[in-house]
Subunit: 334 residues, 2 copies
DNA sequence: GCAAGTTTGTCCCAGTTTTGTCCAGACATT
DNA sequence: AATGTCTGGACAAAACTGGGACAAACTTGC
């Protein structure tokens, strides 16, 4: 048990009250306790007055178990599985009935890798797979890496570096455009599918995710969509290149609580300021707008003036969103 | 023929409850039991409390049997066939079978008879999901529909009509750009993931799939990629908007046997003729180039002159590829 | 073309297992 | 004081099982 905790990079410190867990997982308080009583699905720590205290790790497990149940699994079969195996079970489902590739899931070898070394190593392996046009190997590497890390860690420690390496190599001529295309197309698929490992209860607050007119690169936006969906938000993903008016209309129709825009290239497109201003003017005050991506810093001034948010990392975005959501929770409670 | 296909083996360990099997195959729980009772279609293991436990092998068989049934087979004829024979039956069906009309078996609730009505119904449901920005419902409908049909049927009978309806509605103003964006983004993900339902042995001939410079719509290309992969080809998918030189380089590096290009919009882009000619001039004679998509007919003349192939339907493309592959196989044997 | 027989999806039953919800009384938190 | 959490248990709904019934659609024989 303790071994598992050191592998997974998810926070295992117990701090969340049961109500919050219920809220975030979409389960009822009663049900969480019943599962604990019957199958020891989770065994949360206790406060000095016997209140249950759950960790992020626990929440993640409960969330996965809920998904697996919905797919038709029986509780007894999955209740005590460790997080990694649960991820396997769920991802097997999300790919619907296809045949698996690597039966040897429990390979002790990877538990010995120190995090960073493994990253550099897999990064090279991925780049090699791209250079040799080995799409299948590339996919395999991505899958493996995702299973090893939590999603946020995967995005930040593997995907972000990979993207910048690809960009670099393409610019410098070390990689053909064809290779870059192949990698991008594949990542587009991979990231898109990530979002659907989660299921939604319908009660999650919504966030509209897209890129403004002229911005054709959507990988950043997709990363946000995937990330956000494991934190109890429901992303409404519009793809790239959406006019401000359309974004606003979408926010309205979905009663979304937030918008996330991703800016990468071209950084100095003259339409950006116009579109941002236009969007802001059409939105309710209560809707938070996040602007991220490599090119966001170029427009820092404008973003500040319009009262938009400009998180500098995925983690910052995540924290801000948590706050936004838990705020709603507080309001509902009191 | 059959020898090559038996390479990939499916897990036969019993672990799935009946509900999950029902979810994945699209059959009712009742029906699965009835089939077992009458023909021993599958004989699942049992848990210690008599619950049925199915293996991946069982699930795959049930899926194939369902498809075969839908094509008009009688249960008694196929109930006890081993997996490989079932695959043969089904693949034969999906290639030639759609034209038959007599077999009108029964009409279970999940059957799509009468063909057109039911199709129109799901199509409406999908359009409604899009209009209400209900991404999840949309995904659900797509999944359901895919389970019900074989992949080729799904692409031709559901996806193609859906795409043209969306295009129509957007042009006429009945649908917002935001809705179209949402639907397109989602379909991009959905189609991309389809390709990975198949497993590859690495011995399949390769086909490079993309769209030429200026053509930004990739859904058609993705459909081809998905389709081709169930017919024993390995797609090398490059995404949209790839310059001719890069396509040629990719073909070379992968020693691909064929190229598939998709043309949709803009139909009269002046770069198209140049790019096609340029591509053709750089390729080996033995590489077959297919040009498809709504805008392909505009360039019929040129395509013919360059000696490219212009299949008018997915089925035609499929037949041609099949021929190509068998030809190569013959050569290898003799 | 019609009647008799078959095939097949669905439904109902009664008995068991699994699972979600609810309650009561004690204690904690705000 | 009002609200939320805790434990332990009770209860009911849902799901699964074997068996059988039934009607609709299909096939066969005449």
């Amino acid at each position: 048990m303790a071994i598992l905790e050191t592998i997974s990079s998810i926070d295992t410190s117990p701090r969340h009250p049961i109500r919050l867990v219920a809220n975030r997982t979409g389960l009822t308080v009663d049900l969480i306790r019943a599962w604990e009583k019957r199958y020891q699905v989770v065994e949360p720590a206790r406060s000095d007055t016997q209140r249950r205290l759950y960790s992020d790790y626990d929440i993640e497990r409960l969330r996965l178990i809920r998904i697996a149940k919905q797919a038709g699994r029986r509780l007894a079969d999955i209740a005590t599985l460790p997080l990694e195996s649960l991820r396997d079970v769920v991802s097997e489902e999300s790919r619907y009935g296809e045949t698996r590739e690597a039966p040897e899931v429990h390979r002790p070898s990877w538990s010995t890798f120190p995090e960073d070394e493994a990253s550099a190593e897999t990064l090279d392996a991925m780049l090699y797979a791209i250079q040799t046009m080995d799409q299948h190997r590339f996919d395999q590497l991505l899958q493996e890496n995702l299973v090893k890390h939590s999603l946020p860690a995967f995005l930040e420690k593997t995907l972000a570096p990979l993207l910048s390496e690809i960009g670099e190599a393409t610019r410098s001529g070390g990689m053909r455009i064809a290779h870059e295309h192949m990698a991008t197309a594949h990542l587009r698929t991979f990231l898109g599918a990530l979002r659907f490992r989660e299921t939604f209860t319908g009660t999650e607050p919504r966030i509209v995710i897209t890129t403004p007119t002229g911005q054709l690169h959507e990988l950043g936006a997709l990363m946000v969509a995937a990330l956000v969906s494991i934190d109890g938000w429901m992303p409404v993903y519009l793809g790239p290149n959406t006019p401000a008016d359309e974004i606003a209309a979408c926010v309205q129709q979905c009663s979304a609580r937030a918008v996330s825009l991703s800016l990468t290239y071209p950084a100095d497109d003259p339409r950006i300021p116009t579109e941002l201003a236009r969007l802001k003017s059409q939105l309710d005050e209560k809707v938070t707008v996040f602007v991220g991506g490599a090119a966001a810093s170029v427009h820092g001034d404008l973003i500040h003036r319009l009262g938009l948010q400009a998180p500098t990392s995925l983690k910052e975005l995540r924290d801000h969103l948590q706050q936004l959501r838990d705020l709603a929770y507080q309001r509902k409670v009191s």
